[in-house]
């Protein structure tokens, strides 16, 4: 290495007096088939990065980022869940030995020991051995930690129906939808549907919102007569003409959106 040794400078500056186009590479530390980082190896890294980026972009296009409906602090039925990489902590705090009177154990002691151990690993495992099987205590503690985290995450995630959760919390931009209460369909809606689905189709405790649905007029008619899911049959009270108007009205509200 030439750095700093025998360098001459212009005056008292740090400008080098010697013109040096190349600093010769020094590969003495590693025997074997070494490769220059610049530009040979960097090019390969670049290729790996490009392939990775393509895969990553495919993921983002195939699965758009989820967005639930706007935060509603009064929604008492909502099941709070952290992002997946915090599920193991969330699950730990559900157990009796780590909650209630023992919450300090769940919040401080157990995570503190695990993450403190990780942080201080070089000082806990000071021996010269590097191979995993030559330091069995360190290796088994880490494996135990990994298995616990995976298992806790699995336990937390298995209890959640993510699809139903997303379905019940679809994002709806409520203000944009204007309800034409003069529409003949709205009269039919008032008679048969308003009680559960609300005055502006916003839904309620017993029934979902009718805004943002993707049913056709015929499907809506069928649901109004036969029911769907927890909605009982024969909710619609009126003539066939009114049923047509109702279905058209609900479809028109969803088209406006």
């Amino acid at each position: 290495m030439k750095r700093g040794k025998g360098m001459r400078f212009v005056g008292d500056s740090r400008v080098t007096a010697d013109k040096q186009k190349f600093i010769p590479k020094d590969y003495s530390e590693y025997p074997g088939r070494t490769e220059a980082f610049w530009p040979n190896f960097l090019l390969k890294e670049w290729l790996v990065g490009a392939v990775f980026l393509v895969g990553f972009l495919c993921l983002t296009i195939a699965h758009p980022a989820p967005l639930e409906k706007m935060a509603d602090p009064t929604d008492a039925a909502y099941l709070p869940l952290p992002d997946w990489y915090f599920l193991f902590l969330y699950q730990l705090l559900k157990y009796q030995f780590a909650s209630g009177p023992y919450v300090v154990l769940g919040v401080i002691v157990i995570p503190g020991l695990a993450f403190g151990g990780l942080l201080l690993a070089p000082f806990l495992d000071k021996g010269p051995e590097r191979r995993p099987h030559r330091r069995p205590i360190t290796t088994s503690l880490m494996l135990l930690g990994i298995i616990s985290v995976f298992w806790l995450t699995y336990e937390a995630a298995a209890a959640v129906d993510y699809e139903a959760k997303a379905e019940n919390n679809k994002p709806v931009l409520e203000e944009e939808v204007e309800i034409d209460t003069e529409d003949p369909g709205y009269a039919a809606y008032e008679n048969s549907c308003l009680q559960c689905h609300g005055g502006s189709l916003e839904g309620g405790a017993a029934a979902p919102s009718l805004i943002g649905i993707e049913y056709t007029a015929d499907e809506i008619k069928e649901i109004a007569v036969d029911g769907i899911g927890s909605m009982p049959a024969d909710q619609f009270q009126g003539t066939d003409e009114e049923l047509d108007q109702l279905a058209e009205f609900i479809v028109s509200v969803n088209e406006e959106e």
């Binding site: 980026l53 990553f56 296009i61 935060a71 952290p82 051995e129």
Partner: protein, 224 residues
């Protein structure tokens, strides 16, 4: 022309050693997947950095539309998602990148751990790395609130309750993070925004700089 501009600057501030110091190093055989395919495990650290760069760039573009305010936060995200050209992809990159970076960081940590690469003389770099891991988790936690949808709101409420459970400093921590001892609301959102966009990235850049300088100083650990 470019060469002349470069020479002119180099003559005055001697920039060649700066980048030559980064460019001129050997890549040993045992970390090169071209020689030993199993050396792909050495890619995880670089990929973590790559995803971090994606996070920084996509995050910069997201702040062009995002409004950290309880009335408009959700609406701005909804607008970005539905109206803005490629907004869905940029938000998708930031959303999925947050998960991928945790996965990559986890794999990188396991590689270093099971190879015993944290042993002398690399103890400090291991600790800096674990701190980067903590910062990343904190970035995920604070970023989760920002869209201000139901899952964001309730997850944050639970998080702050957990923080409150810490003895002695719990309530102070909750007030500091949430902006109020009780309410999860406007103050919480602006605090989390500031933490997510300014405080934590500043700490992250500092730690990453130290991490990389130490790698160059110490070199990569030898083969097992």
């Amino acid at each position: 022309m470019l060469q002349k501009v470069y020479d002119w600057i180099d003559d005055r501030v001697d920039i060649t050693p700066l980048w030559r110091d980064i460019a001129d190093h050997e890549v040993p055989e045992h970390v090169n997947p071209a020689h030993h395919f199993s050396a792909f495990v050495y890619c995880f650290g670089g990929l973590t950095f790559f995803v971090t760069v994606i996070q920084i760039l996509s995050g910069m573009f997201l702040t062009m539309y995002y409004v950290p305010d309880i009335e408009n936060a959700w609406r701005s995200v909804y607008y970005l998602q539905t109206e803005v050209a490629h907004g869905q992809i940029v938000r998708g990159m930031h959303h999925w990148g947050a998960s991928v970076v945790i996965v990559m960081l986890f794999l990188h940590t396991l590689r270093v751990f099971f190879q015993g690469a944290y042993k002398k003389p690399r103890e400090l770099n291991w600790m800096v790395g674990v701190m980067i891991f903590f910062i990343m988790l904190a970035l995920g936690l604070t970023g989760y609130l920002l869209p201000w949808d139901n899952k964001a709101y309730f997850a944050t409420q639970v998080t702050l309750e957990i923080a409150e459970g810490v003895p002695f400093i719990g309530e102070a921590t909750k007030s500091l993070l949430g902006g109020d001892p009780e309410i999860v609301g406007a103050q919480t959102l602006t605090r989390f925004f500031a933490i997510h966009v300014f405080f934590l990235p500043a700490a992250l850049f500092l730690l990453m700089g130290i991490h990389f300088i130490m790698i160059r100083k110490q070199g990569i650990s030898g083969p097992l």
